[in-house]
Every structure is written in structure tokens, then in C-alpha cells.
Assembly symmetry: C2
Homo-oligomer: 419 residues x 2
Amino acid sequence: MNSIEQYGDSLAQNAKKASTEIRSLSIDKRNAVLVSLAQKLKSRSLEIIKANQKDVEASKNTLSSAMIDRLTLNEARILDMASSVEQIAAFQDPLNRTLEKKLLPNGMELSRISVPIGSVFFIYESRPNVTIDGASLCFKSGNAVVLRGGKESLESSTLLAQIFRESLEEHQINPNAVQLVQTPNRELMSYLLKQNQYIDLVIPRGGVNLIRTVVEQSQIPVIKHFNGICHIFVDKSADIEAAKNILVNAKTQRPGVCNAMETLLLHQDLSDKNLQDLVQALLEKEVSIYGDSVARARIHGLKILENDSYFEKEYLSLQMNLKIVKDVKEAAEHIEVYGSGHTEAVLAKDLEVQNYFINHVDSSSVMVNASTRFADGGEYGLGAEVGISTDKLHARGPMGVESLCTYKWVLVGDGHIRG
Amino acid sequence: MNSIEQYGDSLAQNAKKASTEIRSLSIDKRNAVLVSLAQKLKSRSLEIIKANQKDVEASKNTLSSAMIDRLTLNEARILDMASSVEQIAAFQDPLNRTLEKKLLPNGMELSRISVPIGSVFFIYESRPNVTIDGASLCFKSGNAVVLRGGKESLESSTLLAQIFRESLEEHQINPNAVQLVQTPNRELMSYLLKQNQYIDLVIPRGGVNLIRTVVEQSQIPVIKHFNGICHIFVDKSADIEAAKNILVNAKTQRPGVCNAMETLLLHQDLSDKNLQDLVQALLEKEVSIYGDSVARARIHGLKILENDSYFEKEYLSLQMNLKIVKDVKEAAEHIEVYGSGHTEAVLAKDLEVQNYFINHVDSSSVMVNASTRFADGGEYGLGAEVGISTDKLHARGPMGVESLCTYKWVLVGDGHIRG
């Protein structure tokens, strides 16, 4: 057994052991830890910023400015982190909820009760704040977590995890409820992905290649998010003014995020003027829009969509595709082929069209007369989110603390035996 | 591409396509198909028995008598199958249920709606009735299914799947909603387990080795059931007469099933007479009970438990282990180490002991003063079950049609954009 295997075994086994200890902690105790954590984050912000500066310094020549921005912590961002922890502490307890209860014909009482999943392996990018969000959500829901952040954030994340562990120890709780991987290499990750005896769930966040690797190697259930190739279909019955606002919001408010629009589908019976108006609103925001010859024949200002592989692109920038479709049926068919199951929107006054879209589009979120940008745990009132799942099992769409719970059946009898 | 890959691709892609067609069928249409199916099973029973006889004939020298019994169909068993289909038709619709609904502060209406998972790859033993049960549960819940039964039941299962497909065609539904694998070899199974683009869920049933292979190879989420190493803890506060009945029921009513007791944990403060009485009831039913020297010093009639690896055995026969423990805490710790997360029971009048056991035993079902044998979809009122999951994601314990559903979020606005 080499040192990577030894380290992996210790992480996995420590997590499992901690999970058995923390799953029955009272909600008061769990919340008290989170409140201490928030206080420590605030009181130790200078120390955190100092550790973070080492990370930023070491990466300034290798990371893009957007990634440096995500990596960087300052006083305000640390306050945000602390406030996010306080919000999580304020959530209602996701555990010990009675999800279902019934009296069986034989007089036994059957309940289904929410319980923690157990231990979670959480893989994420070089964003130190995710260390605290991820660990807080896992702890609130009674799960032990093994955190594996990007290597560029190691100094910051190590200190943040350490502060979490101190908060645990102060409350006489096994600090291994929160462990941070100190050697974020692929070999250790691969090893941990096979520890299905000790780890119950893997949540990877990051680039498509990383996630594909995780899925291929994991023998543990994975909840993930591949792509956000989000579509908006504008029906002929749409309110055009509202549609313009929604399209601009969905594409340009934050083009780099997974719930931004990547493809616009327009009903062929929209008038030429309406088609042009909708597109114009986007062009004015400097969006590059790719359309095929049919679209370009009716709308000015489009760039050439060379072939259908454009529809498979997640631009994450001010570029997008446009297609004119016959009706909502063709729109749904296009989404079936090219969508990523994340979020799609229909803009229509016609209720039949709305309902067809809701029923036939198999995405984690379906929006009616609203921007795709709303697909978000915060917007849905879930509080902080672990991520947005494009999987179907077991959580779909924005994942809050309830997504980190499973259930057990409790059957209470009075000497009952089976006949 | 070899012929196995071609066949695998066609199965997977056909299933995906059928799933997009059947997911929005009305409940009336889904039920009508099931009612037709039940009628056909009854009216074509002679034909089914004839196909089944070929299977039985071909396997009579290779399979054990228990397996031959499971493989065999007769008039009564076909009527049972038909009646099971009728029951599934009578279930309430698991789809389109509003699981959650709320008005967001911005005036938008958020709902979470139950929808089918999509397409299911169902792997099972040589039990032809499971072909009909599995396909009916998947179809009721709007899922396409690829059925892969044991090779010994190929003739029977082929005819049963064919009858299902005829019922679908009669109702103008794509028959590929139900497909049966015609070459149940490992190579094709491995190939299908990689088709995560087309198949959403794998449910394997069968021996531990088969399931381990599936988990190791699958790039698709798997819901499975490894072992049923079920424990009963008898507290010092237990009703001894009730306990005797429960122990005998849990061990001997059907020793070969997954929810039978394999290990009995006895509180050390039970009197020697009570200990002996409890064990005597089992010995009278010819159960062989293995105990360590501590147990053998207090109880007569035990065999030697050579070492702790005995506690890892799923006997599935009239053999079991016995251990004397200090208290409910030690019982829960023993279960944490040796349990399989299936079903455990506590027999106690003391409410504190009951609650400690419920909270600290992390099994899919926890029984209080009742036999472990109750862990069953039928007993829980779920109707027929796809299996009993010892996984935590996404279904746990007995899995009925609701376990074959996921959800989507629907957000209805009125021109809302994100600020």
C-alpha cells in the first residue's frame, strides 16, 4: 500500500466514523457549531486574507483573471461567507422530518423519516468560499464531508477547514466531520472514488472533463452537473416586450453561468418585425448570434451558423444560437436532442403551449414567462446550494440541504409477526 | 462495431426514444395497457406454460430444485401475475403529483412535480414473473425498460415481454417501451452499463457477485441490494413471550429471504432462564445457532462461533449467530460494523431503548417490537416492489412505483427577470 492509498484510506475511514457520530447530533448542537464558525470567520478575517494572498500570488501568472477573481477573498467576501453560514444555521432542520406516516391494516405504524446520507466526497474548483458553503451544508444535514478543492486554493481552504474543525472541537465533536484533502491530485481522487464502503455520495463541480473522469471512475453514486445548454422558446403568442427583457436578462446578466441562455428558438409565425425586435435587443448588448440560412433570410445582423454542432456548444459568453421552429412541438424536439436537462423557458400567453412545453421538456427546471437565470437554490428559497444537478437521481436542479438527506422506514409494532 | 455493440446500441437507443414518447401518456392510457396485459396473460396461459416448460426442461439437470421452483410457471402462478398487474393498474398515478408548491417573494409560483426517471435497465434472476412485475412497474411510472432476465428463463420471458409489447401496440404505443435482452451474456450487459447517454438507471437483482460486477462497471446510477444481514436486539425490558414469537417468525418463516434474521443480539441482563427460553424456541424449529464462549457459558444448545467473520455471513438458511451485548449501545455498534443496512429490529418495552435504536441504527428499515420479515413493499402498502434497496440514493428499502420517479421544478412568472 503506497502513501496515497494510506492517506485515502484514512480520509475515507475517518469520514465514515465521524458520520456515525454526527448523524444523531441535536439540531441545537449542529447550529451552535455553525454560529461559532461564522463568528470565527469574522474575527479571523485578516489571517484568512493572508493565507489567501499566498494562493493568489502563486497563481497570478497561470490563472485567468476570472479565475483569480473567484480565488480571491477580501473582507467583504469573508463577511458574505460568514453570513451564508448564519443563514444555513437559521434553516429549519432537514433531519428527523416525518416524510410520510400511516397506520397499516395490521395495526402497525409505518413512518418514513429523513436522515443524513452519511459521508460525502465533495470535489470543487479553486473557490475558497465553497469550502465553507459545502462543509456547512453537509454538517447541517448531519453528513461528514471530505472536501477536495482545486489546488490553487489550498492555503485558503486549509485554513478555512481548520477553522471549521476548531468549531467542531470546541463543541466536543469529532473534527473529522470536516476533512480537507491536502494533496488534490488525480491519483488520490481516483482512489477515493472507489471507497464505496466508506463514502456514500460524490458531488463533483468543475469542468466537463473533470466530471466525466469522476463518472467513469466512481463506484460511489455521483450527483453532478455536466452542462447548462439552456433554451428559450418564444411562441407566437408571447408578449414581445416582456420577451425582449427576458432574453436580454437570460443572455447578458451573467453570460458565464450555467443558467444563461445558449439557444433561442423562435416560432415561425412571429412577424418579421417581432423577430427583428427580439434579436435587436440582444444585438444592442453586443451578443453574437448564429443562425442558419432560414433565420438569416428573415432577420438581419445574424452570423453564420455553420452546422448543427453549434447547438451543442455551451458558450458561457456573449455568443448564442438562434433557430426558427414550426411550433412548440418542434421546439421541444430540438431541446430533446440538444438540451442538457438543466433549464428551459417558454414565453407564451397561450396556456396550451405552456402546458405542452412543461409536459414535454424533460429538464430539471422549466420556466414559464421568466428568465432561465432564476434556476438557483437561493431564488428557489433553498438557501445556499451544493450545486445544480442535471442528474435525475436522487436530486434534480438546485440542491439544498434536503438533497443531502435520505430516509429510513420505521415500523412500530406490538409483537407483530408476519403471517 | 461488433454485433453485441450494435445490438446494445439498438436496445439503449430504442429505450431512450420510447421513454420520450411514453412519459406524457395519460394515466388512463397507461392503465388501459396494463388491464389488456392482465387479460392476455389469463387468456394465453396455456401458451405461456408451454414456453415455460421448455425452459424448465432445459435446466432441470443444472439448476437446484429451489431455482427450478422459482423458474416454473403454472396456471395459478400466471393468475397471480395477472392479478399483480391489475393491482398495479389500480395504484394511484405516481406521475404529475405536486410534491411541493410555493409562492416566491417576487410573485413567481414554484412547484416540484413528479416525473418519470426515463429509461431503466433491469437485471434479474431466472424468474419469469419478475419480467411482468418489473415491466408493469416501469410502465406505470412512465419509464421505458430494458429487461435482462436470467438465461434459464429466456423462452418464458421472451413470450411474456412479447405479450406486453402486443398490449402496447394495441394502444398505439411504441412497443420499445418494453424490451427484453435476447442474449443475456456478460459482454452485452457490460456494454449496456456504459450507455449513460440513453439509460438513466440500472436496477440489478441477483447474487452478490453479479451486483458487484454491475457496480464496478456501471457509468449509470445503480440502485441495488447487496445483502440482508438482519439483526434483532432483545433488550432486558422486552416482552419475552412476544419476543419468542418474533424470533421464530423472523428466522424460520422463510429462512431463504433477505429480510430473515441472521444475528440475534441479547441484552446481558436478561435472566439465564429468559435467555434459554428465547433460544429454545429457535432450537425447537431446528435452527443451528452459533455463539462465542461467553454465550455458550450461559445458554445450552449453541454451536461454536469460531471467529467474528461468522457475523458477516448471510446464511439464508436455518443457521444464525448469537451474541450477548452489554446494552442497546453495544447492539447498535455491532450492527454498524456487521449490518448490511437492510432491516434491524429492537424488542423492548423501554421507550428510551427504542428511541436510541431508531436513531442510531442506520438501516433502510428499523422495526420496533416486530419481525424483520415485514420489510416488504407489499406489507408497506406500496403494492408490488421493484426490489429492496440497501442503497441510500435515491430509494431506500422497499421500492414501489414512486421509487421509479424523479421530479422537475416548474417556475411560472409573468415576464420576470433576475435582478
